[in-house]
């Protein structure tokens, strides 16, 4: 236990160093040019952070999930885009690791990921599904050569161009229902990406998430044995919401820190005066406190439920509601915090080149409501609330 704790602590410290030393330094350029945070990801690779969540016996770092969440928060404090790339990669890793079921192809793949520090991108959303991840149009189609192929119209693939591998949701076969989905891992040398859009957004600019037509040919064992609905409810959805929330909290925390630095600097200039902005900072802190508690408490519920045999609690309606609430609440609260920070820092926060700039923070967190649109989640929740017993 103590070894594990030390290892995890060392990992968080490493990430903290990368956040401060690399991510922070390049954050403005990444944002300005809407470019991939290559330096951060390179540093994370060198620190073997991309395989941190993979068990030691498969060559990974074996750190706890909570530690990955803490790492997302650390990175989020310095560069939202770096944190988002890291988080999305870890979501894919977690989905594989938690649903391995002794599938030897995937065990080998994880070993390879650890050795080569491969970066996985996600291809879950699809044109024509109305944003419902629980349905697919594209299907895994058996070919003459024993391999299966697919072609998927993805409206966004974050850092697709920079990914080594893709984790893709598909219908199991050409004659399957839209909801009969599998998750397939397509290897760099097996897929092609044909861009169908551009990426020049308000914030989270470094995630480089245009649309693509994804085409690939894969072997049948590259489909995860566990059906996607279970991967989704037990892992992909809660893990996404938790890791995203952590990085949004990280961004919001930095906005708070900058507002606090601003107020302290102002107080130094006027010692003894009661500053109106100091009161506003207290208001801001209580908003941040709500966000922090929400994120922490959801993480704990997830790790508790994950530790139970069968992880059955994660498949309940109450659990779906819980982690949907996390997404909604955190995605609304994070930009609120950043907006209040801007209110405190004023023009110094509005300018891009001061120590108190919080414009990027605000722009980045405003994406949170759109990553799986909150209104769609509310619709799902509304249905669940009508039938769920306990909530």
């Amino acid at each position: 236990m103590s070894v594990a704790v030390d290892r995890d602590q060392a990992f968080v410290e490493t990430i903290g160093r990368i956040a401060d030393g690399v991510a922070a330094v390049n954050a403005d350029a990444v944002d300005h040019d809407a470019r991939f945070p290559a330096e951060s990801i390179q540093a994370l690779r060198e620190a073997k952070a991309l395989s941190a969540l993979i068990p030691v016996e498969l060559g990974g770092g074996g750190v706890a999930f909570e530690t990955i969440a803490a790492a997302c928060l650390q990175l989020g404090r310095r560069c939202g885009a770096s944190a988002m790339v890291f988080a999305m990669h870890q979501i894919q890793v977690a989905s594989i690791v938690r649903h391995l079921d002794d599938a030897s192809w995937f065990e080998d793949y994880l070993r390879e990921l650890a050795t080569d520090q491969r970066l996985i991108a996600s291809v879950t959303s699809e044109v024509g599904t109305g944003g419902d991840m629980g349905r697919s149009v594209a299907a895994l189609t058996p070919g003459p050569n024993g391999l299966s192929s697919f072609e998927k119209q993805a409206p966004t693939v974050s850092y697709g161009q920079y990914a080594d591998d893709l984790l893709v949701t598909l219908r199991r076969a050409p004659d399957s229902e839209p909801g009969d989905q599998v998750v397939v891992l397509a290897h760099k040398d097996q897929f092609t990406l044909e861009p169908t859009g551009t990426w020049d957004p308000l914030g989270m600019r470094g995630t480089c998430s245009p649309g693509y037509v994804v085409r690939a040919e894969v072997a049948s064992e590259q489909a995860l044995p566990t059906p996607f609905p279970r991967v989704s409810s037990e892992s992909m959805v809660p893990v996404s919401h938790i890791l995203w929330s952590h990085l949004w909290l990280g961004i919001a925390t930095d906005a708070f820190d900058r507002a606090r630095a601003f107020v302290r600097a102002a107080a130094k200039q006027k010692p003894g005066e009661q500053l109106p902005t100091a009161i506003r900072l207290s208001h801001l802190m209580s908003e941040l406190s709500l966000l922090r508690a929400e994120v922490e408490s959801a993480l704990r519920e997830f790790t508790d439920a994950s530790a139970e045999p069968g992880r059955e609690r994660l498949s309940t309606m109450a659990s779906a509601l819980r982690f949907n609430n996390l997404k909604i609440a955190a995605s609304e609260q994070a930009p609120r915090v950043c907006q209040s920070a801007l209110g405190i820092c004023g023009i110094m926060g509005f300018k891009n080149d001061t120590p108190f700039s919080v414009g990027r923070h605000l722009r980045d967190t405003m994406s949170a409501c759109l990553m799986v649109a909150n209104e769609r989640i509310h619709q799902t929740n509304a249905s669940l609330l009508l039938i769920a017993k306990d909530v």
């Binding site: 944003g131 891009n352 759109l370 619709q379």
Partner: protein, 407 residues
């Protein structure tokens, strides 16, 4: 980044819809606004992205302001100007803002100075200056802010100094929006080097007689085309180019009021642009599934209540200004408080409306290069909150409320 997809095949149709939907808001205040709307459509709008990305002065739009006489809209007709009311110019600012907020702010900030000159420039030299503004379509910038006074324009550190070569002013201006492009710069200063900080005059510096040394740059989240760099202003002054009344009179008797009304006009135009995009988006969604009410329509209805409030406040305050033009009530603390409220409310409503529009348009609003992009509106709206800080206005009102007998 996950998103609700909208097929690319639809984009062409939506773009058409959007452009057709983007006509002038129904109630125009008249020809000044119509002129402005045309400039917005033909010049300010097309240039707006480039202005924003380059954080550059919207020179082509300001050229059009000059060509059409908008810069002198407030100058009385007998002095060669348009003789328009402040309400009409507010309409113009709002129309431009629909297409480019930075351009609208240039028109607004310039027009505040013209309004002040019209109200307080009764002296012959100042009347001549007004005539020259009309004939030459001179652009006026403002250098009232100052390093070291913490944003309180009711105080100055710099002073008008008498030297052997005449009157001089040196001022560390926190920001002079589009200062490099201005023909005239007005600035507050202590009346003499011995005066109290609050004993201020406002002086007018003319191009050729001033120099600007840049002390800070303007790379901001939004309102990027205002080029609000910091400058060290050094100017030779003519005595007759100092306002004949104290600055406090200029400010309280029309200055604050014109400022809040014209800035608010920019925020309302911004909000209307965001609302128009959300409206088009919802209508397009409804056309795709005839007979149903898209969920976003409900959000749009809420947004519309906010927009109605912003428009109503602006219209009411602008027409009150016109009504009080020659009345001592113009200076009444109630009306001043009311105009401050206008700025606070419209800027907050603009943020709310732009944010709600983003929720409605989703990823199509988040992208810069999508037809429903709300990128600039979101960024500019947040500038509305900090540009002449709402906090400062509310604090000023708080003090005023203590003295007031009735709310």
């Amino acid at each position: 980044m996950e998103q609700i997809h909208m097929g690319n095949q639809l984009l062409g149709g939506l773009m058409n819809e959007l452009l057709s939907g983007m006509t002038a808001p129904a109630e125009s205040t008249g020809p000044v606004e119509s002129t402005a709307w045309k400039i917005g459509v033909e010049t300010a709008g097309p240039a707006s992205d480039d202005v924003d990305r380059g954080s550059r002065f919207p020179r082509e739009t300001v050229e059009e302001f000059k060509r059409t006489g908008l810069l002198a809209a407030l100058v009385p007709e007998h002095l060669g100007g348009g003789g328009a009311s402040l309400a009409e110019v507010a309409g113009a600012v709002r129309a431009i803002s629909f297409h480019c907020v930075s351009s609208a702010l240039v028109l607004a900030m310039h027009s505040i100075e013209v309004s002040n000159l019209v109200r307080h420039g009764a002296s012959e030299p100042l009347q001549a200056l007004l005539a020259e503004i009309a004939s030459g379509q001179l652009l006026i910038a403002n250098a009232n802010s100052e390093v070291g006074i913490g944003g309180d324009v009711g105080r100055s550190i710099c002073a008008v100094e008498s030297t052997d070569e005449g009157l001089r002013l040196e001022k560390e201006a926190l920001a002079i929006s589009y200062g490099e492009y201005a023909d005239l710069i007005v600035a507050t200063a202590r009346q003499t080097p011995d005066s109290e900080q609050t004993d201020q005059v406002q002086v007018i510096c003319r191009r050729g007689a001033f120099t600007l040394e840049q002390t800070s740059s303007w790379d901001a989240t939004g309102l990027r085309g205002t080029c609000s760099n910091g400058f060290r202003l050094a100017a030779s002054l003519k005595a007759d180019m100092i306002y004949p009344v104290p600055f406090a009179v200029v400010a309280n008797n029309g200055g604050i009021q014109a400022t809040t009304i014209l800035l608010s006009a920019a925020w309302v135009g911004l909000a209307e642009a965001a609302a128009a995009k959300a409206h088009s988006y919802v209508r397009a969604a409804a056309r795709r599934s005839i007979g149903t009410v898209p969920p976003a329509a409900g959000q749009l209805a809420v947004l519309a209540t906010d927009l109605e409030q912003a428009r109503g406040l602006l219209a009411a305050t602008a027409s009150t200004f016109v009504m009080l033009e020659t009345s001592p009530e113009m200076e009444s603390p109630n009306f001043i408080a009311s105009t401050r409220n206008l700025k606070v409310s419209t800027s907050e409503l603009a943020v709310r409306i732009a944010t709600a529009a983003l929720t409605i348009c989703g990823i199509m609003g988040y992208k810069r290069d999508a037809p429903y992009s709300l990128d600039r509106q979101i960024r500019d709206a947040h500038g509305a909150l900090v540009m002449v800080s709402n906090e400062r206005y509310l604090r000023a009102n708080a003090v005023m409320l203590l003295a007031r007998k009735h709310l």
